[in-house]
């Protein structure tokens, strides 16, 4: 079984601070990490490899410094990695085509696993776009997977419905955070990951015809929260009275 995991290096959104004067989120100096749900995908890929044998390749798209983060997944048990350096301003269209091309160039790949979305942008585009570009089936939002030699079954969280789907290979799955708890690599694995190969591909060398973005990110503003922000404390008897009074004035007490 040849498995590809797509993993993205993201800023740790929990650490983002907002610049009080511009109201914009400050991204410089924020620690980076592998997007949480992509780690769930990696864990699932490694479990499938342990069950069915084979190889796990992790693909990431990003700057060269993503190399260090991607080693975390190599340490968990992936065998090798591909780091694609995208052109400036690349959007989901460009990036998904680069990933699809990299996978096609790898030869036979049976299973592609992605997180349902990355924690920074939470678009959820990458998985289905890659499946579309590769023209293979997709099973999204899987919270339980059973991979066998000839087919794979997934229980999927489709909102108000639980859908059980199966597919032959090749197929792409996106997983949710509930699917597993990613393992911690051992120290031996961390040290061993240094020797695992990371191939760097530069977009212009990849023979992907259309590298022009279809969506241009113009700006990221802060999100203005126009709230009254009245906080009551200390004297709780007074606090509940004040709150009830205000809610009543706002017509929120029916």
């Amino acid at each position: 079984m040849n498995i590809v995991v797509c993993a993205k290096q993201v800023v740790d959104v929990g650490e983002i601070k907002v610049n009080p004067s511009t109201g914009k989120p400050v991204l410089e100096g924020i620690p980076k990490k592998i997007s949480d749900i992509d780690k769930n995908a990696a864990e699932e890929a490694i479990r499938i490899k342990e069950k069915l044998k084979g190889k796990v390749t992790v693909i990431t798209v990003g700057s060269e410094d993503a190399r260090e983060r991607i080693k975390e997944i190599l340490a968990m048990g992936a065998d090798d990695a591909v780091l694609i350096v995208p052109p400036e301003g690349a959007d989901y269209h460009v990036i998904s085509n680069l990933i699809a091309k990299a996978i096609k160039d790898m030869g036979q790949v049976d299973l592609v696993l992605c997180g349902e979305a990355s924690i920074d942008m939470f678009s959820g585009q990458m998985g289905p776009r890659i499946a579309g570009a590769m023209d293979i089936p997709q099973l999204s939002y899987a919270f339980k997977i059973d991979a066998e030699a000839e087919k794979i079954t997934a229980e999927r969280n489709m909102g108000d419905k639980r859908v059980v789907s199966e597919s032959t290979y090749p197929v792409l799955l996106t997983v949710t955070k509930e699917i597993n708890v990613p393992r911690l690599p051992s120290l031996m694995q961390i040290l061993g990951s240094a020797a695992k190969p990371i191939k760097v591909l530069k977009a212009p060398d990849m023979n992907v015809p259309d590298l022009a973005p279809k969506v241009v990110l113009e700006d990221v503003k802060g999100l203005a929260m126009n709230r009254k922000n009245l906080i009551f404390k200390d004297d709780l008897d007074q606090a509940v009275k004040d709150l009830a009074e205000n809610l009543s004035k706002d017509g929120a007490l029916g």
Partner: protein, 317 residues
Amino acid sequence: MVFVFSDNEKIAIEMLAKAVEISRELGSKPSAVVLGRDGQEKARKLVAAGASVVYLAGQDMDEIKAEEGSEILHSICKEVDPPLIMIGSTKTGKEIAPRLASLLDAGLSTDSRKLYVRDGSIVTERIVYSGNGVATERFASKPAIVTVQAKTYDPLPPDDSRGGEIVTKDIAPREYGSKILKVESMVSEGANVEDAQIIVSCGRGFKSSQDLKLIEDLAKSLKGYTLGCSRPIAADLKWLSEDHWIGLSGHKVKPKLYVACGISGQIQHVAGMRDSGIIVAINKDENAPIFKVVDYGIVGDLYTVIPKLVQAINEKA
């Protein structure tokens, strides 16, 4: 032709209101696609909601598979050449939209909360970095594709006298290696947080599931009986079913009044409730991030505050 599709009829109707408006600017017409059974009946509602043309396809499908849904939409788009496609942000919509975007080599922006035309380009806004920012994105592709969450737009009042064309398309999708084996309702307590007007929510501040009676009491006093919760309560502790889960990966809600009890206010949770009318929080940690996004807050132990608050509200009412 601006295109609207959702497996959720309510979102389709809401999106049509926007499609009507933006069609005028684009010199286009609002249209909709219905996939699956009972298409005629649904199509008439969409015409009443503003669609000039409704395409019916895949009428033998019980469930919409992403591969087939996107292939059918792709095929209609090829013929109609829409400048803009709006797809409802249900899970089904969100697995179809990117695949369709890939087939059309088109740009896609998910969970678009604003949509307008500037200098001939379609521009959209979406929340990024878990609620820390709003990204403005300009489309450089035709079509532009967006997904839209429930309640983003107000529907037009239905007008049964409105005329509209209903076109049946006979498109047989290819065979794919995937199939749906089983569909069942999620374990649900029947909560409908997305439509609720008053929501009282609980988080990690509660020590045991028995204590949720406190928020039930509060909900009763507020005359709203919809309970919500943050991620750990539904996903980890399973004190409430997932239909109560409010947040980025749970439900996004927009009630008139939202009361968060014992919820610290992680950005993922706030992303699910930030559009509520009035936001109230009760938390013992004054530095809890939730207090940054509220209209009213009480700093105090919820085990003390809630009973007092229930009494104070009952006295007011």
